[in-house]
Symmetry: C2
Subunit: 519 residues, 2 copies
């Protein structure tokens, strides 16, 4: 494998050609967020849905959720909820009334309006891996802390692949940037290297406000224009069990007031931060999510909210988290049923526990991506590039995952299953009869260029052809593509004045010291 | 990777321990063929199903199927079908009347009655890879022709894994055995190394009759007992487009007369042996399958039949077959809808185009296995061990696939989604509140041993733990397990007298020259 890579790099060939062609390294599918045409998989019957809902309501009414944010506590008090120390208990009437105000569908519009995405309904959106502190690639061959360069490279992949529809959190944490200014540099990179929907970490008011301001500047928007429609989003995690922390809620409320996208994703590992039973873990996750959504709707009725799920389980022998398991799949499907019950868009993830981009990585990731499809998920976080339970970002894994994402996009093309006379093709079958083949006939010639999914990474050659081409395993092939894509990457266009304004904002905020780092 | 393997082999440790423990290399799930509790994915609406059915009927009525077997032709003539040379045209009334006689569910009972399987309904059965001419493992590191030893080793895996429910064709073609006696030696190996349901290739009357006789002997059965209920099965492929060859139909009719299992699986690659449109390829495949089933029902009404699908597509650039693609998934789902329309059990496969057991192999295989689930497939051929579009069998791939199969088995456990009070677990949630965790509480303690899927191959350690353990990628871990399983394998019990009778039969038939090899 290493030899194959070496030969390829020394030879230069494809990478050089690609660069000369101006960025066309692979033929990929066009930008076209898939519409999920499959009926969701529903493991719960009506009574099951009712039991989970009832459980979530009882948690909210009787057990309560700790809200470690005085401003949020005060809002719950004002709304008539019961406050006991920092524990909030809400009636189901309040929760359901508030949740009922959330739209079932909304748009997110980035600086390039052609990259607008619709969240909700049957739309299936994929985002890059977010937030791993570490990085792994085939050339380095080991786990290393993330850097700005690695982060920039993964952002280039995020922009490059049409099957990635939004830019989630930092695709790897650039720990070579000081935490006080990291958000400024990375957002500058994100906004210049990509033109897709942006995300802000809810990790302190300065960070949130800076990101909103940078997104506004990059879009060439007035404050009024920014506030008029969702331009970006945040994702918050509860501190399970049953707790929301200060900074997450602070960011949540800031974006709620400005009508920006709000995703709440409890991280409920069954057996650790949630009950060992999957329905219990799902129930708890929903309660934690619903109270945040109720808060947002109380602040700004109709603001765009998404209920997320990150319910998996731990290995009870070691305590290690497990991902892409049967339990993960069922929990995601159950959450999907309840998301539809509440009329909320849903987020889930592409996940695996594997440490390297091998077979295990792909069966775990496939399980989680198909669970996203089966659950009716709208936003798939970490859809490309995640390893080691989210502790490692890998460009090879990113590219391998994109091959799977493209296949899901193609899978959702209703034309595959068209059954008109041209598709049943009796005339062609009659013409070929029982002695010929279909390669050369007109029916085939008219369709062969678009009839089937064309992979960019899968190698469909036979063994001998594959061997002659170097006998290169999938992650090594992905590594070659990674190098070629980075070498030929072209930034999306940005007005010079806007770029300068963005740079000036970053410089000013750095001078001011950026954000406090005492979190 | 190679270093890791070397250390492990030199150290001996686990393999030696396993052998001493008497065959317990891994903790695997018990024998329990999954019941598919998911609603099938149905890409066709009612009109779509009707259009495909109508197309299949028009093929059978108007275009006709070549039947290259005089005996079968005579039977169709006797049944009132139109015969034009070797092309048979059947009325839809005849086809539907005959197909209506086939049972929707039947059992197959091997020599060990505890391994009886039910084909049909919601049962999901997995079989080993069948018929690759070549073999690949990590130690050899290249593609080589199959041998009896390789075949025996793969049969040991077939027996070892509880998630493999039937022994399909030869898991690799042992080309070191002369073709005239190959079936005798391999069936002897199959019947002594495994106690699961057997298969006979329909490749000449001597082979078919020999296998039926050996299965009868191994089961300690009289001829009457053998005929009384299905003990084994054959699988035939049409020669698409629109043709059934002599030996396949010969074997088909022999098993039909004795009431044994019958699976017909057209191999319809869209764009090559079938229309480039997936619905057309499915329609043609169904027509080819239905005429064989009609023949079997005419011969022996009520005999057990299964309709198979092997509809995929070719890469239109190279002509190479593609597997586990979006088109493959949809074709399998469409076929499932029609199988239910006809009231027939269904067969599909676990497939990939990849040449080595890497990421591509697992996303393609995962796609095909989940398509089997989504289509309501009953028998999944090639569920473990297949590479290179079926041209290579690999023990590492076999073991990797079994990890996925076990996960599907676990996924179908309705307990994952139980929503009783114990599972919603409000008491546990209340007890832990917002400050603790669920590791130590009684609700967890009572359930932790069985709460979650336990993998035998997936490595859930964090990167550092994985690195300390050798940093071994999935196929290499599978290779270690392969060696350990083979080293500690114990044959299933067989009565000494039966074994002697079987050996004597093989010796006698070899003396007689076995089977002709002029096919």
């Amino acid at each position: 494998m290493a030899d194959g890579a070496g030969r390829k790099r020394r030879g230069g060939g494809r990478a050089g050609n690609a660069a000369r062609r101006g960025g066309v390294v692979i033929e990929q599918m066009p930008w076209h967020p898939p519409i999920n045409i499959d009926r969701p998989v529903e493991p719960l019957n009506e009574e099951g849905v009712a039991a989970v809902h009832e459980g979530a309501m009882q948690i909210l009414e009787d057990i309560g959720i700790a809200i470690l944010n005085p401003e949020a506590l005060e809002l719950f008090r004002e709304a008539g909820c019961s406050i006991d120390g920092d524990v909030v208990r809400c009636s189901r009437e309040f929760i359901m009334e508030m949740v009922g105000k959330a739209p079932d569908t909304f748009t997110l519009t980035p600086r390039n309006p052609d990259r607008q995405i619709t969240v909700g309904g049957n739309t299936l959106l994929f985002g890059n891996v977010s937030s791993p502190p570490n990085y792994w690639d085939m050339e380095i061959g080991r786990k290393v802390p993330g850097t700005r360069e690695m982060c920039r490279n993964l952002l280039k992949l995020t922009q490059y692949f049409n099957c990635i529809h939004f830019a989630g959190g930092y695709p790897v944490e650039p720990v070579d940037l000081h935490a006080s200014v990291r958000h400024l540099d990375v957002l500058y990179d994100k906004l210049t290297l990509t033109d897709k929907v942006m995300h802000a970490y809810s990790l302190g008011k300065e960070r949130v406000e800076d990101v909103m301001e940078m997104v506004r500047i990059a879009g060439g928007l007035t404050h009024e224009e920014f506030d008029a429609t969702p331009r970006m989003y945040t994702n918050i995690n509860s501190t399970s069990p049953l707790k929301h922390d200060y900074p997450m809620l602070d960011g949540w409320m800031r974006l709620a007031r400005r009508g920006q996208g709000l995703v709440v994703t409890p991280f409920t590992l069954a057996g650790a931060m949630a009950p060992v039973t999957m329905a219990g873990a799902v129930t708890q996750s929903l309660a934690e999510g619903l109270i945040a959504i109720a808060l947002a709707q109380y602040i700004n009725p109709g603001c765009p909210c998404v209920i997320g799920t990150f319910t998996s389980n731990v290995d009870m022998k070691s305590g290690a988290p497990a991902f892409g398991t049967p339990e993960y799949m069922r929990a995601t499907q159950m959450t999907g049923q309840l998301a539809r019950f509440y009329g909320l868009p849903m987020r889930s993830s592409g996940v695996c526990a594997a440490n390297v981009p091998d077979g295990q990585a792909m069966w775990e990731t496939s399980n989680s991506l198909w669970a996203a499809v089966q659950s009716g998920t709208n936003m798939v976080y970490h859809a490309a590039g995640w390893l080691e339970g989210g502790l490692i970002a890998s460009p090879e894994k990113f590219i391998m995952d994109c091959e799977v994402l493209q296949q899901i996009q193609r899978y959702m093309d209703p034309m595959i299953c068209a059954t008109g006379p041209d598709e049943i093709a009796l005339d062609a079958i009659r013409a070929v009869g029982n002695t010929g083949h279909f390669f050369g006939i007109q029916h085939t010639q008219d369709r062969y260029e678009t009839a089937f999914y064309q992979p960019f990474l899968s190698d469909w050659k036979n063994y001998e052809g594959w061997e002659v081409a170097g006998g290169i395993w999938t992650p090594e092939r992905a590594h070659h593509l990674f190098k070629e894509i980075i070498a030929s990457f072209e930034e999306p266009p940005m007005d010079v004045a806007i770029r300068e304004e963005l740079a000036a904002f970053v410089a000013k905020r750095k001078e001011e010291g950026g954000a406090p780092t005492d979190f």
